[in-house]
């Protein structure tokens, strides 16, 4: 049995996703072996992230300043709104470059097995944004999984009556991929999603 401060730390670390009790204990002992300064920096970072990070009142992304940098940027095309599931997806699209519109973060997708329904997502905020006439097109960029597709279909139905064009990100054969080695499902999707040239 651990001394109570260690047991408390293990218990708290084990609450993190993907961390079991053994990994939590390993992390706890790593923290114990680290310098007092490193441990204090880690603790302060955890406190700071909870204190300073909030939701952007426009796009619902995580931000230190409200509105976030992307929503404040006047060079961005406000008529384009890329709807993503998680804040990490904004980072991925920004890293790819090329997209100059704005974002909306849902913080999840509809998921029956996780009990995530429409009310658990940032859908009302999206509809409010789209209802004021500034957004002309919403690019539904949820993952091409069953849950991601269903979420996109659900949003498209809500957006159309608002006069907002709903488009879906393309899926299919990856760049540099060989058709011969593509799986049946991906290839079928690529054929379905073909475009005129």
């Amino acid at each position: 049995m651990y001394a109570s401060p260690i047991a408390r730390l293990v218990q708290q670390l084990a609450k993190l996703p993907g961390i079991g009790e053994k990994t939590a204990a390993r992390l706890a002992f790593h923290i114990l072996r680290a310098s007092a300064e490193d441990a204090a920096v880690l603790a302060a970072a955890i406190v700071e992230v909870r204190q300073k990070i909030r939701f952007c009142s426009i796009c619902c992304d995580l931000t230190e300043a409200d509105p976030c940098a992307i929503c404040r940027d006047q060079r961005r095309d406000g008529s384009l709104c890329c709807v993503v599931a998680q804040p990490q997806d904004v980072v991925a699209i920004e890293r790819a470059g090329g997209y100059r519109g704005r974002y909306h973060v849902l913080h999840g997708v509809l998921s029956p097995l996780d009990g995530v329904g429409p009310d658990d997502l940032r859908v009302p905020e999206l509809l409010r944004r789209c209802g004021d006439g500034t957004v002309a097109e919403a690019i539904l960029a949820t993952s091409p999984s069953v849950e991601g597709e269903a979420t996109a279909v659900y949003l498209a139905k809500l957006l159309r009556p608002l006069g907002v064009r709903a488009s879906r990100i393309a899926t299919g054969v990856p760049m540099g991929g060989e058709l011969e080695y593509a799986d049946q499902v991906t290839l079928a999707r690529a054929i379905d999603g073909r475009r005129e040239m």
Binding site: P17, G18, L110, S111, D120, S145, V146, E147, V185
Partner: protein, 260 residues
């Protein structure tokens, strides 16, 4: 460490660690099992077509000595249910069917008929869309296939002995999940009333194929009674509420429509 390969349906996949997933599969030749798919969130090669909800394919597995969790070495999707994501009703029914199998099927117990029943249900769902009547037929078939089928035609306790010689349609029945379904008034000690229409509908649905179920149209109140009666039986065996049922309830609340 033995390697095995089986046609399988993905019942659930949850992210684990940096890029792994823990997948619950219903294997045709293995029964329900859980496996660790290392690097599944990054590799499109070993898990071609993805490990999404109700994906159907051939799973290549390896048993690990002393470990309950197998290793999923590859999953070749043989046919995607591409329309399951086309509307929320389809997705909700697919998730419910997967969750039911996940909760009701015993681990590593081969149930070929149950696998085929789920595969057929998903294929119809993909092709024709969600239908409450077909979902009831699926529930009845699944419960029956696993030996949990409720007594409907005759009393679960006396099988009709206590009212022998009387017109069966004149006998009042109650519904008692603890005692296995319909219980005649003479044997009843609890439960709740079940209408003759609901019992007749359950009996009728139990004899239908999944294909024929789509053409059925129960009256809303009869559908509700059938749904509630089967939900009691399912909850009795599962031991708690299903997440997918909560989801369906949330959807109904959001749309103010009828529950599937």
């Amino acid at each position: 460490m033995a390697s095995l390969s089986t046609p399988a349906i993905v019942l659930r996949a949850v992210n684990y660690g940096e890029a792994d997933r823990i997948v619950t599969l219903l294997g045709r030749d293995t029964g329900r099992l859980s496996a660790l798919a290392r690097g599944a969130r990054k590799s499109q090669k070993r898990f071609a077509g993805g490990l999404g909800l109700c994906a159907v394919g051939v799973a290549s597995l390896r048993e690990r000595a002393g470990a309950e969790l197998l290793t999923l070495e590859g999953f070749d999707a043989t046919g995607g249910h591409s329309a399951l994501g086309a509307d929320i009703g389809r997705m909700a029914h697919a998730a419910y069917a997967a969750e039911l199998c996940s909760k009701l099927c015993a681990p590593r117990q081969v149930e070929v008929a149950v696998y085929d029943w789920l595969a057929e249900f998903l294929a119809y769902l993909d092709l024709e869309g969600a239908s409450a009547e077909r979902l009831r037929v699926f529930e009845l078939g699944l419960l029956g296939g696993l030996g949990f089928g409720p007594a409907i035609a005759a009393c679960a306790v006396c099988a009709g002995a206590s009212h022998a010689g009387r017109d069966a349609s004149a006998v009042a029945f109650r519904w008692d999940a603890d005692r296995g379904g319909a219980v005649c008034a003479g044997c009843a000690r609890g439960g709740r009333p079940i209408t003759a229409a609901a019992r007749a509908a359950l009996l009728h649905l139990a004899g239908l194929s999944l294909g024929a179920a789509f053409r059925e149209a129960l009256a809303p109140d009869v559908n509700r009674d059938c749904r509630e009666a089967l939900a009691e039986i399912i909850n009795h065996h599962v031991g708690g509420p299903l997440k997918s049922v909560e989801f369906i309830a949330k959807l109904s609340a959001a749309s103010s429509g009828g529950r599937p």
